[in-house]
Symmetry: C2
Subunit: 321 residues, 2 copies
Amino acid sequence: MDFLKNYAEFVEQEIKNLELPSSPIDLYDPLKYFLAIGGKRIRPILTLMSGELFGLKKEDVINGALAIEFLHNFSLIHDDIMDKAPLRRGFETVHEKWNQDVAILAGDVLMIKAYQCLAKQQGDLKKLMDAFNQSAIEICEGQQFDMEFETKESVSISEYIEMIRLKTSVLLGCALKLGAIAADASKVDSDLIYNFGVNIGISFQIQDDILDLYGNPATFGKQIGGDVLANKKTILFLLALENANEEQKESLLNLQKELNPDRKIQLAKELFDSIDVRGKAVELKNKYSILANQNLQKIQVETCKKQNLIQLSDYLLVRKD
Amino acid sequence: MDFLKNYAEFVEQEIKNLELPSSPIDLYDPLKYFLAIGGKRIRPILTLMSGELFGLKKEDVINGALAIEFLHNFSLIHDDIMDKAPLRRGFETVHEKWNQDVAILAGDVLMIKAYQCLAKQQGDLKKLMDAFNQSAIEICEGQQFDMEFETKESVSISEYIEMIRLKTSVLLGCALKLGAIAADASKVDSDLIYNFGVNIGISFQIQDDILDLYGNPATFGKQIGGDVLANKKTILFLLALENANEEQKESLLNLQKELNPDRKIQLAKELFDSIDVRGKAVELKNKYSILANQNLQKIQVETCKKQNLIQLSDYLLVRKD
């Protein structure tokens, strides 16, 4: 994580340097608050690294990087309303700390701020806009699919993969693509680095689902089994359902009604183990990691310059579980 | 209104021609619904007329026009949530017909669609973006000020004018400015037509406040006295407060507590008449109409080409009251 420090500090400093107005106070205070509670700034770092890969300096792509970070934070503020989430990164969400109207409007302004940053980014603005707009729309589509899946009776593995591709993965691809466009990289290389990011995103999300049940409680950061308790249709549940025999299928559906939380998690583990769900999920995760690496390898830049991105992808995907 | 028909039909047709995806259904159905219930399409028509003024054809500025219309509709969908409005243009609002989450997300996507249109507009994209972003942010600021004014004890006339400038007027200015930028008009002319629009917007909003109490019930389209009944701080109320003597001030504050609606409206009229609020409001309205016309006159284009815009501004501002 040490190799990320310089990048993260650079992004952090640029966010601090933003001169946001003081009034209307209930519009800009929530923005400042939400941007300050941060996160790891992985997405803007991807833009910086991609810009460097194609020959630019960090400073040359910071506006694109901020645009991506703001787009991400806009979607979090609005998603938190829809998900009725009380906390984000351990802090109160905007709609909790202020109210829902404030959160809607703060998200809206942050989105427009994202476009203001994008407009300042060097490079072909039309191409930057096209990449950015497509991903922004897909993020909304992904969020909608995610909400629909909650009440939908059956969701296929491929529908689920498509949902996480839209909801979380295209943003990683877009972050990288902006760096490539800013550097005037070829269309082929821009698409390769985009696909590198999207596949990392899918792989990461599958891993996140795996860690929900099989993660190390000391390092995972969320409650182990939280998805199981919430009856979420994660990749584990969907793989279990797809590979279950009739008896196992019945147990899976009965599991949803179990009220004792410890017992519910224990039963889920036993059932998933009997279907080797973890192995199947890891296999799927690896499929997308490999796809990601294949795309990175094909980019027409010396391998040594790719080290930062390889290290970042390892950091994201080779978590201890 | 006949001279608007061609323009409105052109905009309507272009909106119908949009190929919006069918899925996710709860994301795109609300969008299609809201865009179909229409309105008079004044804002995109302003962009078309401005483009023509500076030598372009309607077709050359349609993307900028749609961007403005989408920005406007995005802000309506989100404002309706915040205002808990059940109806818009006589139809159910999106959060009423679907639910609030759907309305948040539909608004978000519409906003991104606005930027997609903008990116397709001919002309200097950086300049188009700068104008568009500034107005988009100001609209959010205006909405926030408007909400804050509801609970704020005292609001000055100049604060009120600034709020309506941000919330509704800059969008008219921006609509016109996009047409000018698309046509590569001079900076001076772009600013003049922007100021023409902003001043029309302020004048129109003041007129709207006047019509609330003094409009013709047969043609106004809203309930006469609605603002009075809701204790809204309109320009009439603020002018009354500013010009009232101690006794009238007390009557004004007592008026807020009156429960009988007919009596409340009657009392407001009597009180406002005794302070000549209507005359003062019309004077203020005229001040901004005159400013608008002065800006239009200064634009370096033959006067005959300005006829459409003059006619449109008359249509907006010379309503029978």
